[in-house]
Amino acid sequence: MSDEVISLEHVDASYGSYRALFDVSFSVPSGALVALLGANGAGKSTVARVATGLVPKTAGRLRVCGHDTDHMASWQIARLGVAHVPEGRGIFGDLSVEENLILSFRQRLGRKEVRSAIERAYGAMPVLAQRRHQVAKTLSGGQQRMLSLGKVLAAPPKVLIADELSLGLAPVIVESVYEHLRTINANGTAVLVVEQQVSRVLQLAESSVILEKGRVAWQGPSGEAHRAMEAVLAGAARETGRLEVGS
């Protein structure tokens, strides 16, 4: 158990009165790259948010880097070595590119390491160096993702949770983003990739978890995930058809 960076055991979660997760259990081993798959509304992003403390769980157990997170705030979970690139804009739009980097590195590495980490980020993502004084919300969607990943590349966390990285990006940018993801994982960071685009992410991931309607429908090696995903979707389609007939 000690080599698991994230472990969810029988986790439930809700948004107000709307219950989103039911008895979710799976784990991410240290250094692994795990894909979290599922259709729209399956609860993938909710799992990512619960794992970082953004959405509180209502039942079950969440362990991060060997620590029980029951009484921890999300910033304390982050300081255990968890980086989260949320769906959509995951940067501070009102801060400049460099201020985004300074904020992140100051918290993770301390004052003395900030400058060298910024140089590493600029080295890995030259586009950030060119736009260092630009207000981050004026960057393109791809550049915003680069900024998010640049922070991770320059100061590798123990685990990265990447939520729908490919959303709204051109295919060529998606390729580049995934290449960076592979590099981050190769540097020793465990990665939990939340994705709707199955085929691309399964080339990277060692194991996969498939969610359906807030529950874990399947988990196992990525090689078998395609078939399992088709079965899950076929089941969902049968259910939808039955509902339509019924209504």
Binding site: E4, S7, E9, H10, S14, Y15, G16, S17, Y18, R19, A20, D23, S25, F26, S27, R49, T52, G53, L54, V55, A73, S74, W75, A78, R79, A83, H84, P86, G88, R89, G90, I91, F92, G93, D94, L95, E99, I102, L103, R106, Q107, R108, R111, K137, E212, K213, R215, V216, A217, W218, Q219, G220, E224, A231, V232, G235, A236, A237, R238, E239
Partner: protein
């Protein structure tokens, strides 16, 4: 020329008084994301405690300053953060404004109850000897009273600039203001940063309060509120971001005011009005004229998707079987109310009920502006005054009947509403609220004091509302008249709410850009709703004047607009019932409080100000929230009853509905790393 420079130099230290408050407003906005209308009230609290410690407890000035500025002030700030503002969802501009208005109203009233309403003469000075002349600028002597704020303001700006420039706290504060949750994802202790920011800004409020106390012969909370409202123009000049610009803006405003005061005749109403209204005219000009001020909205929190969805309205969760009994109950209540008003209720109570019904009409304007358009207007009492004075002047001067004046007053207020709405079209929520406040203050200082408007200092004595020989201004018939007017206005609001305009406003509230792309005429919708709201306020104002008969500009000052916002938001601005409940509650509580000791005079605003605290948890209003809860309880009881009649076990009481997955069983636990069976889509 020498006189001009003398006036200008005199204005520099005077402007520093504005500057220190504006710097405080800018710092609070940058550090916490709140445009803190209660900054003056916080300053007053510290000044009062400082005064009491020095004058009554005979503490040395330095010890009293330590307690008031470095002890009490940050404690109040941290309390406000932890107990109130932190509970608001991110980007809740309306919520932040309402809470700050609630605090602005609560603090002076609470201190009046705790410390008593005694006049506190000659407040002590913190740093310099007040009357000692330290040096001359040209021929202008500079004494301790002027030197203190000037020196301290410059020092404060330098210290804050250094803090924000050389420490990472400034960056963290900006990050937390933009998205508390995203900052936490970076490992930032957002709660700690937020508490520090509130503590720091409150220390500044305390410092300003103690420093500015000797400006007037005695200590009054209203002086602080007036100064802060004037300082708003300066803060806006600093674009709510720049401390040096706020400092410069304060000095410029001070200089302009002293020059204007120097050259205008001293004994005319116009010059007095211009001097008093100058900061608000500048505020309005800056808001409308400076492009970057138009959209002062905070950035959207990218993680707002983590928020639970807004709860449904009570009407939406009501069991259909309850509709008929509730309708019957409503009409029974109306009949009982009218019969009781006409027969056994004492006259003073009937009079207050008439006031409550008039205010209910005014409060319907908030259902339109806040509930439907999602904006905050801080000038609805002014619109009520426009309606009342216009109808009153027509009746007095031209002999128009007051009954027709109800409609005429509404129409006049609607026209003025359009005049205010047109320049406000492109403004975000906060700038719009500030513009309406500026308008209210300009009207208070520059329009209402004239005899042709508000009747001057003596006010107006309105003719009675008569139909034939019947005097409808008497309290008992007035209740019937105001019920009819309220019903017409309420139906009008309901028609708007359920019609095209209501749907358009709901769409605009969701996304203005998406609404434009759908072909909605956003500008027209905004102007129409603003005009309708002003008309409601105007009609309510005429009724309010008619039942009181004697009205003066003091009945419609901007403070009432602030109180009205707090009252309506507390009960619920999203529904017609909320507005009516607010009006009636306001009047009934006022009447009930006539039986408590005079010392507790400020209890009513305190009650409603405390009510705003519930806004964070229940933005739909506390009454609306309670109605929903009861509707859900009754609905569950009915469902249980149905189940029992059908022979099956009903749901346990207190069990909340659980969304679309309600009733699904828990899936069996799956060991990590182990392939689990596919459990979905099966026919079993």
């Amino acid at each position: 020329m020498g006189t001009f420079f003398d006036f200008a130099f005199t204005g520099v230290p005077y402007g520093c008084d504005f500057a220190i408050l504006a710097v405080g407003l800018v710092l609070t906005y940058r550090a916490t994301g709140v445009f803190n209308l209660a900054f003056g009230a916080q300053a007053y609290l510290s000044a009062l405690v400082f005064y009491v410690l020095v004058r009554s407890s005979h503490l040395p000035v330095w010890a009293a300053a330590l307690v008031a500025i470095l002890g009490l002030s940050p404690a109040v700030g941290i309390f406000l953060d932890r107990a109130l503002f932190r509970l608001l969802p991110p980007g809740a501009t309306v919520g932040k404004l309402v809470l700050s208005v609630g605090i602005l109203i609560a603090i002076p009233n609470i201190t009046s109850i705790v410390f008593g309403p005694a006049t506190r003469l000659s407040p002590p000075s913190l740093v310099f000897n007040l009357n000692e002349v330290y040096f001359h600028v040209g021929s202008v002597p500079v004494n301790g009273l002027e030197l203190g704020p000037a020196v301290v303001t410059v020092l404060v700006v330098l210290v804050l600039l250094a803090l924000l420039r050389w420490s990472s706290i400034g960056l963290r504060m900006r990050a937390v203001v933009e998205s508390r949750r995203l900052a936490q994802m970076e490992g930032v202790n957002a709660s700690g940063v937020s508490s520090f920011a509130w503590g720091l800004s409150s220390v500044l409020a305390g410092l300003a309060g103690v420093l500015l106390a000797p400006l007037d012969a005695s200590l009054h909370s209203s002086d602080y509120t007036s100064l802060v409202v004037s300082a708003m123009a300066v803060a806006v000049f600093g674009l709510l971001r720049s401390l040096p610009r706020a400092l410069a803006g304060g000095v410029i405003l001070g200089v302009i005011q002293t020059i204007v005061a120097g050259y205008l005749p001293s004994n005319s109403t116009l010059s007095g009005g211009i001097q008093a209204a100058l900061p608000f005219l500048l505020l309005a000009a800056l808001l409308v004229g400076v492009p970057s001020m138009r959209r002062l909205e905070e950035s959207q929190d990218p993680l707002s998707v983590c928020d639970p969805p807004a709860p449904p309205l009570a009407a939406a969760v009501r069991d259909r079987r309850l509709e008929r009994p509730m309708r019957v109950g409503f009409w029974l209540l109306v009949v009982a109310f009218l019969v009781s008003s006409a027969t056994w209720i004492p006259g003073d109570w009937v009079y207050e009920l008439g006031i409550g019904l008039s205010l209910s009409v005014v409060f319907l304007s908030y259902t339109l502006i806040t509930g439907m358009a999602g904006q905050i207007s801080l000038c609805q009492a002014t619109f009520a005054g426009v309606g009342c004075f216009f109808a009153g002047q027509l009746a007095i001067r031209l002999g128009f009947p007051m009954l027709a004046g109800i409609a005429i007053g509404g129409a006049a207020a609607a026209v003025v509403g359009v005049v205010v709405a047109v320049p406000a079209l492109r403004l975000g929520r906060l700038p719009l609220a500030l513009l309406t406040l500026a308008f209210a203050l300009v009207a208070d200082n520059l329009i209402f004091p004239y005899s042709w408007a508000g009747g001057g200092a003596s006010g107006l004595f309105l003719p009675e509302i008569r139909v034939g020989s019947m005097n409808l201004s008497n309290p008992r018939p007035f209740v019937f008249l105001s019920c009819v007017v309220l019903a017409i206005c309420a139906i009008a609001v309901l028609l708007v709410q359920r019609g095209h305009l209501g749907r358009a406003l709901a769409a605009i509230r969701g996304s203005e850009i998406a609404s434009v792309s759908l072909g909605l005429n956003v500008n027209r919708a905004k102007i129409v709703v603003f005009a309708l709201a002003a008309a409601m306020a105007g009609i309510g104002g005429v009724l309010y004047g008619a039942v009181q008969q004697a009205v003066s500009p003091n009945d419609f000052v901007y403070e009432y607009s602030l109180v009205f916002v707090v009252v309506v938001i507390t009960t619920g601005a999203t529904t017609v019932e909320g507005a009516i409940q607010a009006g009636m509650a306001y009047a009934i509580i006022a009447q009930v409080l006539t039986y408590v000791p005079q010392r507790l005079d400020g209890l009513e605003p305190i009650l409603f100000a405390i009510g705003t605290v519930t806004y964070a948890a229940h933005p739909e209003g506390i009454v609306e929230y309670q109605r929903r809860i009861w509707m859900q309880r009754v609905g569950r009881l009915l469902a249980r009853w149905d189940q029992q009649r059908a022979g099956g076990p009903g749901p346990r009481s207190g069990e909340a509905p659980r969304g679309e997955h309600a009733g699904q069983e828990r899936s069996p636990a799956i060991a990590p790393g182990e392939a689990a069976p596919i459990i979905l889509g099966t026919d079993s």
